[in-house]
């Protein structure tokens, strides 16, 4: 079983970001099944955590519900992250969620990026905003990132349709997950650095 956490920052209910996120997680699940694996998907709709994320920014700790959501994302085998494009970049809510994560929790994590917007003119926000953010977070991001403009939900062009792109991205994410050795995260509380070593460094 491959645990896939989906983080989506759409504000509408339903939102096109969630629609895209669902297509991406379905595509990932199909690709995993072809290789004998299955996806167990947890969806984190950031809209539901907007207050808790702000509280965390101010107090420095996660309220219980948000702590569970963060744990679902950081302990997942793969993450699908989708943001609407607001003012030429990811939304503030999307960024705030990744701002409150502890350093290093997404190290080498297989990640598939998605974004939505009113027109395809915003599609490069994936490449100039989301991809550098996840490079900073040291995540392992698939070569394909998927942008869905409103018109994509009604277009069926051969070879370039939304479902074709989602399928390719899903395959890439499945391949990343299956290639990656699974290691449990290390906890500094379990293995504290001995003091003599701290003193000598």
């Amino acid at each position: 079983m491959t645990r896939v956490a989906v983080v989506t920052a759409g504000l509408g209910q339903p939102s096109s970001s969630r629609l895209l996120a669902d297509r991406l997680s379905d595509a990932t699940d199909r690709a995993l099944r072809l290789q004998g694996e299955r996806a167990e998907v947890t969806v984190v709709e950031l809209r539901d955590f907007a207050h808790e994320i702000t509280d965390h920014l101010l107090t420095g700790f996660a309220p219980p519900r948000l702590a569970e959501a963060i744990e679902a994302v950081t302990s997942a085998d793969a993450v699908i992250a989708v943001s609407p494009v607001f003012s030429a970049s990811y939304s503030g809510l999307f960024k705030s969620f990744f701002d409150v994560l502890d350093d290093g929790v997404l190290d080498a994590k297989p990640v598939l990026l998605g974004a939505t917007g009113g027109t395809a003119r915003h599609s490069l926000a994936l490449e100039f905003a989301l991809r550098p953010l996840f490079a900073y977070l040291r995540a392992s991001v698939t070569p394909t990132a998927v942008f869905a403009a409103s018109e994509d939900f009604g277009t069926a062009g051969a070879g370039t349709s939304l479902s074709t792109r989602a399928d390719r991205a899903g395959r890439e994410l499945a391949d990343l997950v299956l290639q990656r050795p699974r290691t449990a995260p290390t906890d500094p509380f379990d293995n504290p650095t001995p003091f003599e070593q701290l003193l000598g460094s």
Binding site: T54, T59, F61, P63, P64, F189, P192, T193, L198
Partner: protein
Amino acid sequence: MQFGIFTVGDVTTDPTTGTTPTEHERIKATVAIARKAEEVGLDVFATGEHHNPPFIASAPTTTLAYIGALTERIILSTSTTLITTTDPVLIAEDYAKLQHLTDGRVDLMMGRGNTGPVYPWFGKDIRDGINLAIENYHLLHRLWREDVVDWEGKFRTPLQGYTSTPRPLDGVPPFVWHGSIRSPEIAEQAAYYGDGFFANHIFWPASHTERMINLYRQRFEHYGHGSADQAIVGLGGQVFMRKNSQDAVNEFRPYFDNAPVYGHGPSLEDFTSQTPLTVGSPQQVIERTLGFREYVGDYQRQLFLMDHAGLPLKTVLEQLDILGEKVVPVLRKEFAAFKPAHVPEAPTHASRVAEAGGPRDTTVHAAGDDVTGRSPAAVTR
């Protein structure tokens, strides 16, 4: 068990009246609060250290020495002393002097500080925070225990044949606590030296404090200072009380909602359920505080944050009356009943002198002997 208060010395506008105390008023209020703490029977007054507005908490030894002159019994401590950006040589001198002036009523709590620019203001780099805390404290520890110190490290100029004066009172350095909210390295440091560990406790969920204390206790045992349940633990707490709990909530809410640290964030109700903050009747405070030992074990020191967020002096003094009359006497009795005999009390100057085999004068009358590193009467602990 010791009970006391700790202050950060914030100068904050009272949100209910719009009035802001002057620095002078706030400094004098701090002294009044400390005297009141002794009057109502508390054991410890601790002040933080900040080097920027809106705080009046710079020059902590000046404040503590003045309070020391006006009080007789209360222990004077810090919460915290910035071991990262303060020269350990000055800490050694300042607090040994304070120890002499107050006849041993001094201990310290080491912390790294949470204000980024303080590091460059004092010529340091925040990225060295942990390393500064470790190296500087190691030097401080030696300065109080060795009459003549030769020393070389990364962060300050080397010392050759240096004797820190005055020598610690009765040959016994002040007891030291180490405070950290989230760095396991600091719990490890406290355990290594057999010093105390103080968990701020008030801004974070209990589960987090529990992990830090557990790590400190295990490592305290690992380094051979005693069993894990004999480690010296202190906790912060934050309360606001009125006889009727709804009155406490109504009165405290505007202060909470506008407080510097968590204001305009979580609701009072969320924050009280997620952190140790207790707003209610004295009985509610007693029950909540007794509950702390369920996740940290039997502990030695409980400090409460009482004077912050713009609460007027009059209110703070009323709170101290309630704490001293209604809460602490009950907590003393109840905690004592829980505590097994092998769990020690918080170390005091008297208990540490007794443990060292009695007081000894360790005055260095002449230049130190830098061959043996000793004065004629050596400090032995």
